[in-house]
Amino acid sequence: MEAVIVIEHLYKRFGANVVLNDFSLEVGKEENVVVLGKSGSGKSVLIKCIIGLLRPDSGTIKVFGENIPDLNHEELDRMRTKIGFLFQGNALYDSMTVRENLEFSLRRHWIGFSQQKIDGLVMEALENVGLPHTVEMMPAELSGGMLKRVALARTMILQPEIILYDEPTTGLDPVTAREIDNLILKLQKKYHTSSIIITHDMNCVKNTADRVALLLDGKCYAQGKYDEFERSTDQHIKQFFE
């Protein structure tokens, strides 16, 4: 299988706090890789390095063959059009309506897009997450789960080839969480996306993962299929299934 993300020997520390310590991982085309790890183990740091928000101390992150830390601003910007990023805390612009939030991601294409096309994309993205009626609302008027879904819609609106999800189902009721899982799968089929999904929700792992990787002590401690993880006798892996 062709790999779209290849991470090799990644190191990242904040002062004395060593977060990533020789981390390596590959993600294939149209593959969903779930990254498991305890709180504070550096999962968010990992995907922020991939999108170029944080700079690793050393190591390579090849996305479509290009090493992210080597890219200059314009190249990184071009690369980011192909990558969607769902923030753990949603990061919706709270001074803008839902519509403006979604349109904002389309800004870089504004010159090329007609208003009709923009409206179409916005409504399609909101229908995907089942919230077309919120289009004129402010983020402050939405519930936590709705915010998450709007953030998801904003991530998906550009139909990126890679999506990095930081805890997509955390804080949602089981029903909505399963809807999100299905949405992730649906998008993977529809737009042929590859994704890294960070989550603690084992149901989400079960539903979405083609492969699971465990981040422990800054390394990729283990990886394999969900079933293999479930059957594993390793105590670090077993913890997640209790």
Binding site: K48, R80, L92
Partner: protein
């Protein structure tokens, strides 16, 4: 040891602020410009500050005049009252008070706004979404404060002078025409130019300090509160420092 650490922190902070300012000149004022957002900010920052500046300006003019009168009466130069207040208002009180009020209102709101955007990762989201947050958020706000404060100062001066006119008329009678003829007669180009020029620098300092503090906000409610607070404190101090430099500079140029 604490003392040396403080000194180091002071210089570190100064260096960072200088670098931030450098970034404004290197990337903030290059195309593509965020014109729409710039106008939006000019409206929010300029227009919405007008009532506050008008109110404080009016009261300042009135109170200053009423308090100056007794001294002038003692020396028997009561007729010079419009001249005195005119010079005081146009050269110093108008620009500085307007800038301080503006700093209190705008530097804190910019600091808090950008601070909360920073800690909720909205700035990162913008970066990922392909909009340069420095251009979109910082450059527009700094340009808006730099352009709006001079306009507000001119309006503030006018209202302040009107307050002074009312103040003069409380104890004696002067016609509107006579009052303003006296005021403008006493003012020369050399009075107006430095006073007007320094307001651009005040506005720039307020915008850049507010953005800098917000952009470097630390996590949590306290972090955001601190950046709003220190934005006001630092920009107010900057206003006085710039004022001090300005008076030295005009002195050298012989405009005093």
């Amino acid at each position: 040891m604490k003392f040396t650490a403080n000194i180091r922190e002071f210089f570190g902070e100064t260096g960072n602020l200088a670098e931030f300012t450098g970034r404004f000149f290197s990337i903030g004022i290059k195309p593509r410009f965020e014109i729409k957002e710039l106008f939006n900010q000019c409206y929010l920052i300029g227009y919405k500050s007008l009532p506050l500046i008008a109110l404080t300006g009016f009261i300042m003019g009135l109170v200053l005049t009423m308090q100056l009168r007794p001294s002038l009466v003692t020396y028997g130069v009561e007729s010079q009252l419009p001249v005195m207040v005119g010079i005081a208002i146009v050269r110093e009180i108008g620009p500085v008070i307007t800038a301080l009020i503006f700093a209190g209102k705008i530097a804190s709101s910019i600091g808090a706004e950008l601070g909360s955007m920073k800690v909720t990762e909205q700035i990162d989201a913008m970066e990922v979404g392909g909009t340069n947050p420095f251009k979109y958020l910082v450059a527009t706000r700094v340009l808006a404060t730099t352009m709006m404060l001079p306009v507000l100062t001119v309006m503030g001066d006018a209202i302040c002078l009107f307050g002074a006119y009312i103040g003069v008329n409380i104890r004696s009678v002067t016609s509107f025409h006579l009052f303003f003829t006296q005021v403008f007669h006493s003012l020369s180009f050399g009075d107006l130019l430095p006073a007007f020029t320094k307001t651009f620098f005040f506005g720039f300092a307020i915008g850049i300090v507010g953005c800098y503090k917000g952009y470097n906000s630390t996590k949590g409610t306290q972090g955001v509160g601190n950046s709003a607070n220190s934005a006001v404190v630092l920009s107010s101090v900057m206003i006085f420092l710039i004022d001090l430099l300005a008076v030295q500079f005009t002195d050298i140029l012989g405009l005093n």
